[in-house]
Structure formats: C-alpha cells, structure tokens
Symmetry: C2
Subunit: 212 residues, 2 copies
C-alpha cells in the first residue's frame, strides 16, 4: 500500500486531521465520503485531499468516493495508532498533569506506563493510576519496562542531559514540551516539539498583521 517511499512531512502532519474527521463521520454512521465533502469540512481543496490520500495508495474509487471505514482503518494503520507504544511522562507539574488528564493516549498510539518527577512533594502521588516515581529510579525502570517514548514536560535546562540519558536507555521518541532543541545531534530519534510559547508569539505576530 506504500506507493511512495518518501511521504512529505506536510502530508503526514495532515493525516491526524483526516483521522479525526473520519472518526467523526464513523461516529455519525456515515459510511461514504468524497474529497469535495472532506474539502468543505477541512478547509483544504478537493484536489489537495486527493493528492494527499493518493500518497498511500488508491483509496478512492471514481464515482463512489471513499469508504469511510476503510480509509479510517488505513490511516490508523499508517499512523500506527493501534500499537500503543510504551511511554513515560517526565515532569508531573502543572503541564505534565494537564497532559496526562487531557490526552487520550490510547487513541493516539501510546500507553502511559510510568511518571517521573524530581520534586519530593510530587513523588509518591497518584496520576492516572500510576505512582509518580523519583528520577533516581529512571534507569532501572527503563531497563525493565523498556519505554519507547518519553513525554518531556520539564524546563529546558534539565532536558538536554536527560534526553541523552533516555536515548542511552533505549527511548526512541520524544514528545517535547520543554524548549530544548534536539537539533540535528540525534539522528534516528523521533522528536515532536510542542513549543507553546513559540506558538503564542506567532499568534502575536498574526494579530498585529490582522489589525493592519
């Protein structure tokens, strides 16, 4: 089904949106859709949508459109959402807690198996049925439970050294809320940055431009 070897980053970034729209359609009992329907809902052109979905093989049939169930399950497969990769959360402060409560990890491809913090006041507390553990136990935990991903909700200052450690312990993917830049120094490691303050600064620029 992988027609093209190198799917562009921008197509990959749109797949979760398709996935969410298709899930909504499924939940509303709709079994068939078209690129023009998706276009209206998603604010992309129909031809863009056809191009995007063609990257992964011939999902659509002319005159019929797309089978919602099939397209949904294919995108689910491409994004590897049913795998539930083992993940740990580092940092159980305000942001870490909010992420833990807010996110539907299981429907996003991950399963949270451990939470770590360095703050004595937080260690030992429960978060989503997991006890917050001390960072001292991180190495042993990784050796035993083999987490594949780490969600970094810690300040930039601690993130660089910690990331190095985690990569050595076998972690292959980072969901990075710290402002640490992984840069180009870790090839083969998957990094998804969520730079909240960058996003807010971009909004500040856009607001200025919109007011012109």
């Amino acid at each position: 089904m992988n027609k093209k070897e190198n799917i562009s980053n921008s197509v990959i970034r749109r797949l979760p949106r398709y996935y969410r729209f298709l899930r909504d359609l499924k939940e509303n009992g709709i079994s068939r859709t078209s690129s023009s329907e998706l276009s209206q809902q998603m604010g992309l052109t129909a031809s863009q949508i056809r191009q995007d979905l063609n990257c992964f093989g011939e999902f659509g049939q002319q005159g019929y459109g797309y089978n919602v169930d099939y397209l949904y399950s294919e995108i689910c497969r491409i994004l590897d959402l049913s795998r539930k990769s083992r993940a740990i959360l580092i940092g159980a402060g305000n942001l870490g807690k909010a992420i833990a409560f807010h996110m539907d990890f299981e429907n996003s491809g991950f399963r949270l198996i451990g939470v770590f913090d360095r703050n004595e006041n937080v260690i030992g507390r429960q978060l989503l049925n997991l006890e917050v553990k001390s960072m001292d136990g991180l190495k042993a935990f990784c050796g035993e439970k083999r987490p594949e991903a780490a969600f970094l909700c810690i300040p930039k200052e601690s993130a660089g050294k910690l990331a190095e450690d985690l990569i050595r312990y076998g972690v292959k993917a980072f969901w990075n809320f710290s402002h640490y830049d992984f840069g180009l120094s870790h090839p083969g490691v998957a990094v998804e940055n969520v730079y909240l303050s960058d996003s807010l600064m971009t909004l500040s620029y856009q607001l200025k431009e919109a007011a012109k």
Copy 2:
C-alpha cells in the same frame, strides 16, 4: 524595515526560536553573534539563517555579524511582543489551568485579563489573581474590556458556536487548543492551532518510521 511585503509563514514560525536563542545570548552577556554560531545552536544552515533575517531588512554586517541586542529588539518588535494584547482564557479545566500557570504571557505578547468557564464548580475560584467567571457574563465583559485574543481550552463541541460569538464581540485572535477547525470561514481572524493529539499521532508515525 519591512523589506518584503509577504514574509513566508515558515520564516515567521522560526522567529520565536531566534528570539529565544537571542534572549539566552543576552542573558549570558553575549553582544555579538554570527549566522554560523546561530546555525550550530539551532540546527539550521547559516545560509538559511541569513535568508530568514534578511526578510526583515539588513540586520547583519559582513565581518561583524549580528548585534544581539539590536536583533533581539527588532524580532521583539516584528512579533509585537511588547504590546501585551488583552486576552481571555476560555476553559479553566486541567488544560486551561496548566496553560495559565505554565505560560509567560507577558513575554509572549499578551496579558490575561479574564478567565471563563461554564462549570459551576470552577466559577468563582481564583486563577492567577483572576476570578473564574461564568460564560453568561462573557458578552458584557467583552463589551467593556475589549479583549483582542481568546485562548480556547474547551472541547470541540462548544468551540464553533463560541468562536462565532467571540468574533462578533470583537475578538481578533484565537489560540485554539480545542479540535475545532476554523477552516476558511473567518478571514481576517488570526488563528494559531495547538492540536495536541495530532502532534502525538505524528509522533506515533515517526516512531514507527524510526524503528524501520
């Protein structure tokens, strides 16, 4: 100073990163930098950096490099960070609270002037010296205090109708954590989406690819 009228979105998205790096340099008492130094720290090529910064005028001088203070204050000006646009937070649940505690609004171009929720258990509580108000008072508040931006930390289902209302009340910019898609229906309104679950699904894909 605005040499080019249309600065590409991708350049704008990199500016906050430049801003953060320059702030670090300033804090470390460094007054001069070069595109090759920035390149090493940011994981971009030096020529990319020169191109980016040239969009806004001739910041650099050959042989001297960039004056950190000047470049910092120019990017600050371009992003309009000193303006402190009036913003309200809608949704004081886990995510809204975390955003409020975690973010340095004042250094990102905004000032939080109101917090709203529809949950009776939350209304009346204090958040960052602001009392969480009922949504019933939203219209009157906007008429009086004229917030320019809204941070939406509410479920998708409520976001569409609310966004329409807020635009009618004069809100010009949305920092959107809900999974509502503004699409193309609101030209002239600035929207910055933070789709956390999309980001996590993208990481799932990347992890699969990295493991190949």
